[in-house]
Structure formats: structure tokens, C-alpha cells
């Protein structure tokens, strides 16, 4: 008589079956690898026609920069975008998940998504995990009720603000906003202010760096200015590059030609009835 363990396919959501093993390994001295954080500067502001979101592009793994040009402004809906700070996997997964839920909701209702819908979906998910899903977000968009800007903290609390900053560079960026923000900015003034705020985060905060990404959302549409400003180009690139006169010692070479694709001949033999 065999004791059968029925493997049910996972229903989605998190699975905790490796937790006990990981605890045992930690006791034996095998520590879990560090997670990639986005130690970031993300900002948003409301101008006269809509919302402008801005973010830097550095992703760090401890003290090392692992990605010099990552995308922190995530798509949620055609009229809603979200910037994410915190653990990179969490911000990406949470924004992708809520983006799919919004799409399903759009199919269900037949209407454009509202920013408060995205806000509620995000805060419910984050509160559910009591802050362990470490994602701090700046959510902005324009819907039928007008332009909206919200911040969402990892534990699930939210704020609705005319201008907001999050991430490790938030203090540097907020300083710029507090001195120069006023109601009724034009598009160009708004972009200039957001760029200044992100740049102050890039140059003064060690966890933020590289380039500036901007996203302008208005009633008419959105404009994603990827790498709007690149204040940190790579200096001193050697034009010659490296050459290796002493070749690597090769012990074994194996060349495998890839299989040719099967040719489909049109009008082959017709099957006999």
C-alpha cells in the first residue's frame, strides 16, 4: 500500500515550504543571499494639466551598483503609472499583479481605471503582508475625476498629496520641492522641477544615481521620457579596448551545429480518403 502524496498545482500567491529548511541552513552558517534594493529617489507632482512622475535609475545590491539603468516607473494602466522603491522584486511583482487586476477590472466594467482603484488594491495587498512585502510606492495618474497623486508605505498606509517623494533620496528631493513648488505649474516648469529634485537625490544620496526618468500623464495621454537627463555619462572610456595577445588555454572545444528548421512544403501529398 503506497502512501501517495498528491501534488496539487500551486494556487498562486506565496508558498512557504522552504522556510523551515532555510532556518536550519541559517543555523548551520549558510546565510541567505542579500536582495536587490532600489535605494532610490522617486518623486511625483501635480501640475495644471496632470501628473509628472520622476525616478532615478540605480539598483544596488549591498554597496555595489548592479544595474546602472533600471526602470523604476512601472506601467499600471494607460492613464496610471507607479514608481517603486524598496526591494526590487517586491515593487516589480506588486505593480505587475495590480496592473493585471486593473486590466481585468477594465474588462469587467468597460471603463477607464481610476487611480483610487489602484491605490486600494495596492494598500490592501501590502497591509495583508504587514510590511514584509517591502515596497514603497508613488502612484500617480489622471482619470475622469482629475489628476491624483498618492504615496503608499510598505505597511499599507497611504497619503494623498500635491507633491511627494519616497526612497532613500526623498529628503534631498523634498527640500527642492518645498522651496520651489507652487500651484498651477506648466508642463515645462513641472518637468524642470522634477528633474532638479531627482538630480539633488542623485548627487546627494549614495543609494540613487545614474539617469533621470520622467513620465508625464495628462488627460490626453502619457509621455514616458526614458533617460530624460543623463548627468552621469561614463568618463575615460579607452577607445582601443583590451586586446589579449596571450590567448586563453583551451582544454576542450565542442562545436554543435544547431538543428536546421524543418521545411514545410506547401501542397504536399493529399491524403487518400
Amino acid at each position: 500500500m503506497s502512501k501517495s502524496v498528491i501534488e496539487t498545482p500551486p494556487k498562486g500567491g506565496f508558498s512557504f515550504d522552504l522556510c523551515k529548511r532555510n532556518e536550519m541552513l541559517a543555523k548551520k552558517g549558510v546565510n541567505p543571499p542579500s536582495f536587490r534594493k532600489t535605494g532610490t529617489t522617486i518623486v511625483g507632482l501635480i501640475f495644471q494639466d496632470g501628473v509628472i512622475l520622476g525616478a532615478d535609475t540605480r539598483a544596488t545590491e549591498g554597496p555595489i551598483v548592479c544595474d546602472k539603468n533600471c526602470e523604476k516607473i512601472h506601467y499600471m494602466a494607460p492613464n496610471i503609472y507607479c514608481c517603486g522603491a524598496g526591494t526590487a522584486a517586491d515593487t516589480e511583482a506588486v505593480t505587475d499583479m495590480v496592473s493585471s487586476q486593473l486590466q481585468l477590472h477594465r474588462y469587467h466594467t468597460g471603463r477607464e481605471s481610476r487611480v483610487v482603484t489602484a491605490l486600494t488594491l495596492l494598500k490592501r495587498h501590502l497591509f495583508n503582508y504587514q510590511g514584509y512585502v517591502s515596497a514603497a510606492l508613488v502612484l500617480g495618474g489622471v482619470d475622469v475625476t482629475g489628476p491624483h497623486l498618492h504615496t503608499i508605505y510598505p505597511h499599507g498606509s497611504t497619503d494623498t498629496l500635491p507633491f511627494a517623494t519616497m526612497g532613500s533620496g526623498s529628503l534631498a528631493a523634498m527640500a527642492v520641492f518645498e522651496s520651489n513648488y507652487r500651484e498651477g505649474l506648466t508642463r515645462d516648469e513641472g518637468i524642470k522641477l522634477v528633474t532638479e529634485a531627482i538630480c539633488s537625490g542623485i548627487f546627494n544620496d549614495l543609494g540613487s544615481g545614474s539617469n533621470v526618468d520622467i513620465c508625464v500623464i495628462t488627460k490626453g495621454g502619457k509621455e514616458y521620457l526614458r533617460n530624460h537627463l543623463q548627468p552621469n555619462p561614463r568618463t575615460y572610456t579607452s577607445s582601443k579596448g583590451y586586446s589579449f595577445p596571450k590567448k586563453t588555454e583551451v582544454l576542450l572545444t565542442k562545436i554543435t551545429p544547431l538543428k536546421e528548421k524543418v521545411e514545410i512544403i506547401e501542397g504536399g501529398d493529399v491524403m487518400e480518403e
Partner: protein, 176 residues
Amino acid sequence: MVGKNCFAIASDRRLGVQLQTIATDFKRIYKVHDRLFLGLSGLATDAQTLYQRLVFRHKLYQLREERDMKPETFANLVSAILYEKRFGPYFCQPVIAGLGDEDKPFICTMDSIGAKELAKDFVVAGTASESLYGACESMFKEGMEPEELFETVSQALLSSVDRDCLSGWGGHVYVV
């Protein structure tokens, strides 16, 4: 590392338990299909389990769709499988390299919970990753042909593992 219509993926060959070497010819790079390779660094048992799970999912995909998975799709699959274990993660970091449509090379790495990092030039993972970042950053050139790409990748790998006690014993390089 990406070259001109080609890519190279390389790993060292040491398998060890902290400071003791168990094997000097350990294969860390697995073939998923002819044009898609996966390298897994970190805990060897998690690497093997993860590889078996991914091959299983890829075979199911091949049966359903009657074609091979595109590298971008595969990267999403790996990311989802790793994120599922967010609070009790697999102790490994994958490096995915493949040729997409029109032989356009695609490379990507992830941390142990599935945060994708796409790059246009090179990606690194493992205990020697800090030295590898430095070596690749200086040795990389745009649009290298396969022979030059092989040379660059091997030199970057060998010089970085020479500076790391936990890696060594030569390398395996796959150029596609």
C-alpha cells in the same frame, strides 16, 4: 555577455562546502533549448532543483505551444517561480542568456527572489560578482564577433575567479 548576433555564458568549475572543495568539474550552466542557456550560482542543491522545475515547465510549454520558449518569456517564468518563494527563497541567482527573434541576443540576471535585471552588455552573478563587475566593465566592447567574445569572457572570468577563494578550477564557456 552580448556580442554581435551571439552571446557567451561562462561559469567556473569548483563545487565546495565553505572552504573544502568537493568537485573541480561541476557544471553550472544548463541548456534549456538550443538557443537558451541558464546558469545557476549559489547553493548547488537549490540550483539542481530549480533547473529540474524549469525544464519541466519548459517541456509542458513545448507540448502546448509546439515551439520553444522565447528568452524573455523564460525570464518571466524564472522570476515568477523565484518570487513565489519570496519568504523562504531558493539560495541561488540565475543568469539567463538566449537568442530571441532574428538572432537578437538576450541576457538577464536575477537576485534570489526574482528581481529581473536586463542589460544590454553583460550580467554577472555569484561569489565573485563584485570582481566580475569590474572586469567586465573594462573589458567589454560593443559588437564583438564570437572568437573575440570568447576571449573576452574567458579573460574576465579567469581574472575575477583568481581573486576569489570560493571560485576557481578553470571555466566552462558556451558561445551561441
